[in-house]
């Protein structure tokens, strides 16, 4: 049974890993020379409800990638405006660690190969084609190509290509595989009902900041500096993908987090203005390179799916990460990717597909996002354990806890302890 995963971001890595743990032959096809996609510039985990989600996944037996992220942490238990007990993983070392782990599990990874088309047999995908015409056959396919970019989208719905980590000009654009298979994409909306959303943070070269800021970042993981009054721009919060960081505090303050680089919690910031702030006189952007004017545009390419993560309209295609909905972040990508990987194998060997229970945050978010996405207002929301509408829901439904023992007992009570560890082939 061969599972083909298209896209090697966090969701794709999780899907490939889970399909492999279930016993399938797995091939992971990645367009660039790096796994993790936007995760290479992420770095924030375990903040707010993400702590609960990570521990639920660990108890469910799908903790592999969380444990790698924990091992790569630069700071633990960091608080910053609106967020508690975050872990900040080091974006400069984590990709190599994940890659090593995936190889050790026997996953075949194709780098610098871009999937551009599908061969259909009725409503099933028979094979995918790489840009050079090479055909790759499979039994079940998982699309984790994300919803960000490419250049034309970032230009039409944003301020143009910002030269982000996705590096479309170097490796070619993302192609919506579900659309090639005949399923129309869905798009997220902004509050004014325009399409997409802009990535919500930039990375500054740490060495270009003052010694004081660098030392504070290294020590505490976080630095908060007030924005000069004339430069406060509340409108920028509306275009932001990360509604959990679209708080007043993030417009009024420069919030820096130490993820190896200095993560600046705003979509973009004109360099001249940024350099006026004490300690920022020599500052430079490291991601996106043009963080002074733009950032990548996301949520333009989601596939309609069911709660098993199967694409509606294609018999053997699953999705995870942003491709599967208006999710934000590493934790959300791993949760959705893992379920996609698991159900892909079940479908491949003729078993019924499973949903994760709503009594766990990781199951509830998948259903909540799918249900909400049906409305116009729902398309304007982003869904993350870390904040905004879904974290509120977690608190209301008593799904949010940092009590690891309580989470384990809950998973035990559902008879799901180490559920994802079981080989099913």
């Amino acid at each position: 049974m061969k599972v083909v995963v298209i896209g090697g971001g966090w969701a794709g890595c999780a899907a490939a890993l889970q399909a492999k743990k279930c016993g399938a032959e797995v091939i992971l096809i990645e367009r660039t020379d790096l796994l993790l996609g936007l995760g290479n510039v992420g770095g924030i985990i375990r903040n707010n409800g993400r702590f609960t989600a990570a521990e639920e996944m660990i108890a469910l037996g799908a903790g592999d990638l969380f444990q790698i992220a924990d091992r790569c942490a630069r700071h633990k238990n960091v608080d910053f405006p609106g967020h508690k007990h975050a872990t900040l993983y080091d974006v400069n070392i984590i990709e190599a660690e994940v890659r090593k782990y995936l190889y050790s599990m026997g996953i075949n990874i194709l780098f610098e190969k871009r999937v551009v088309d599908v061969e259909m047999e009725g409503k099933s995908i028979k094979s995918v084609y790489l840009h050079d015409g090479t055909e790759i056959e499979g039994d079940v396919f998982i699309e984790t190509t994300g919803s960000t970019g490419p250049i034309g989208n970032c230009l039409r719905y944003g301020n143009g290509c910002s030269m982000c980590i996705l590096r479309c000009p170097s490796y070619g654009p993302r192609i919506s595989i579900s659309m090639r298979a005949g399923v129309e994409d869905l798009q997220g909306l902004r509050s004014d009902e325009s399409f997409g959303a802009m990535s919500g943070s930039c990375k500054l070269e740490k060495d270009s900041l003052s010694k004081e800021i660098r030392e504070k970042l290294d020590r505490d993981g976080v630095v908060v500096i007030p924005v000069p009054k004339e430069d406060i721009n509340m409108d920028k919060l509306n275009i932001k993908v990360c509604q959990q960081y679209a708080l007043k505090e993030f417009a009024e303050n420069i919030v820096l987090l130490d993820t190896g680089h200095a993560k600046l919690m705003t979509s973009y910031y004109p360099l001249e203005k940024l350099r006026k702030i004490p300690g920022f006189e020599r500052v430079r952007f490291i991601d996106p390179y043009s963080g002074g004017k733009a950032n990548s545009i996301r949520y333009l390419s989601m596939a309609p799916r069911d709660n098993h993560m199967k694409v509606i309209g294609v018999d053997n295609l699953f999705v995870g990460g942003e491709k599967s909905g208006l999710f934000v972040g590493h934790t959300e990508a791993i949760v959705t990717g893992t379920l996609a990987g698991y159900n892909a194998v079940r479908l491949g060997i003729g078993l019924n597909l499973v949903e994760l229970p709503s009594t766990l945050a990781v199951g509830d978010i998948i259903k909540f996002e799918n249900e909400n996405k049906k409305t116009l207002d729902g398309l304007k929301q982003r869904y993350t354990f870390a904040g905004a509408v879904y974290f509120e829901r977690m608190k209301q439904l008593d799904l949010y806890t940092t009590d690891i023992e309580k989470i384990r007992k809950k998973v035990d009570g559902l008879l799901l302890r180490d559920f994802f560890k079981n080989r099913i082939i």
Partner: protein
């Protein structure tokens, strides 16, 4: 079957073109009236971005310029060899597989412009060499040129299936050519030999002393065979030609074959060799009636199941056009 969509001009200084301006770009979904990216063939630049940065206008179109004829002689009663001194830019741009230009007699109306393949481009002396078959009004007009000719270029779509010729290194390639269609095959052989490929050429003996390009192929280092390819009573491949092909295919490990002939010949030849080796890829000399070269006039359109190909600038997979692959292709 792999859907091969390519515009030979995409990503060049002539892109975006008037097709983009009118929402008819071959490659870019956003320049085809769609709202989101669905790039059909990434060639290193975003055409939509180029279009926006070019103030939502097409790049400047190629225009006729007058150049000097250095050499003009009939090499057969109906074959004209033309050597034209061009500028360094054109010489370099035309030193590519599939290059062609439009030619016309100075002062003749635009409708006299005729597309002509480049057989060779000498980038040291900025001299291009072409062979024109004198067939009708346009070419007879060209024959009347004295020391000047008007030339418009560069264009590159004179050979279809260029994807299969790109990045070939250390392979064996079979070129089969008849008549004037041998001219663009000489350029292809030259470029492929530079990439350390071994080229075997089979030429139609035809009338007289064999094909005009025979000595050129030989001097490039190709292994050349002469045969009579066609039984003219029923327009089928001759036994002599078929036996030679069988022998050559058995002896060599060809990745690609280039067919230089009419569309009728392409069909006969491609089907014959495809039956012998299903893994063989094809490139074919483009025989479409090319009038504007910019994808606008419509004279070069080729109808496929998946839509219309503007073959003056758009590439196709010759197998899709000339081999009956019904049932294997996309619907």
């Amino acid at each position: 079957m792999f859907r091969y969509v390519d515009c030979i001009d995409a990503g060049t200084e002539y892109c975006p073109c008037h097709l983009a301006e009118k929402g008819e770009c071959i490659i870019c979904s956003q320049l085809r009236g769609k709202n989101f990216c669905d790039c059909l063939n990434w060639k290193g630049t975003c055409i939509y971005e180029e279009f926006i940065w070019n103030n939502k206008k097409a790049k400047r179109i190629r225009e006729f310029k007058e150049f000097t004829i250095e050499n003009k002689r009939l090499i057969r009663d109906d074959l004209l060899l033309l050597q034209v001194s061009v500028n360094p830019y054109l010489a370099k741009q035309l030193n590519n597989i599939g290059s062609y230009v439009f030619l016309k007699k100075p002062g003749s109306p635009l409708c006299f412009a005729t597309p002509v393949s480049i057989m060779d481009s000498d980038i040291k002396n900025n001299l291009i060499t072409m062979v024109v078959k004198i067939l009708g009004v346009k070419t007879k007009d060209l024959l009347e040129c004295k020391d000047k000719v008007e030339l418009k270029g560069p264009y590159w779509n004179g050979i279809q299936g260029q994807i299969f010729l790109k990045n070939l290194k250390g392979n064996e390639i079979l070129i089969v050519a008849r008549g004037v269609a041998a001219a663009p095959c000489v350029m292809a052989a030259k470029k492929l030999i530079k990439a350390n490929n071994k080229i075997i050429v089979v030429l139609e003996k035809g009338r007289g002393n064999g094909n005009f390009a025979k000595e050129r192929f030989k001097s490039l280092g190709c292994e050349v065979y002469d045969v009579n390819m066609i039984n003219y009573n029923d327009y089928s491949l001759s036994e002599e030609f078929k036996n030679l092909l069988l022998e050559l295919i058995k002896k060599n490990n060809f990745k690609v074959t280039i067919s230089g002939g009419s569309d009728e010949f392409h069909r006969l030849y491609l089907n014959f060799v495809y039956a012998l080796d299903k893994s063989l890829k094809f490139a074919t000399v483009n025989n479409a009636i090319i009038t504007c070269g910019e994808g606008i006039c419509g004279s070069c359109e080729v109808k496929l199941d998946r839509g219309i190909i503007k073959s003056c600038k758009q590439q196709y997979n010759p197998a899709e056009v000339f081999i009956n692959l019904r049932g294997e292709g996309r619907k």
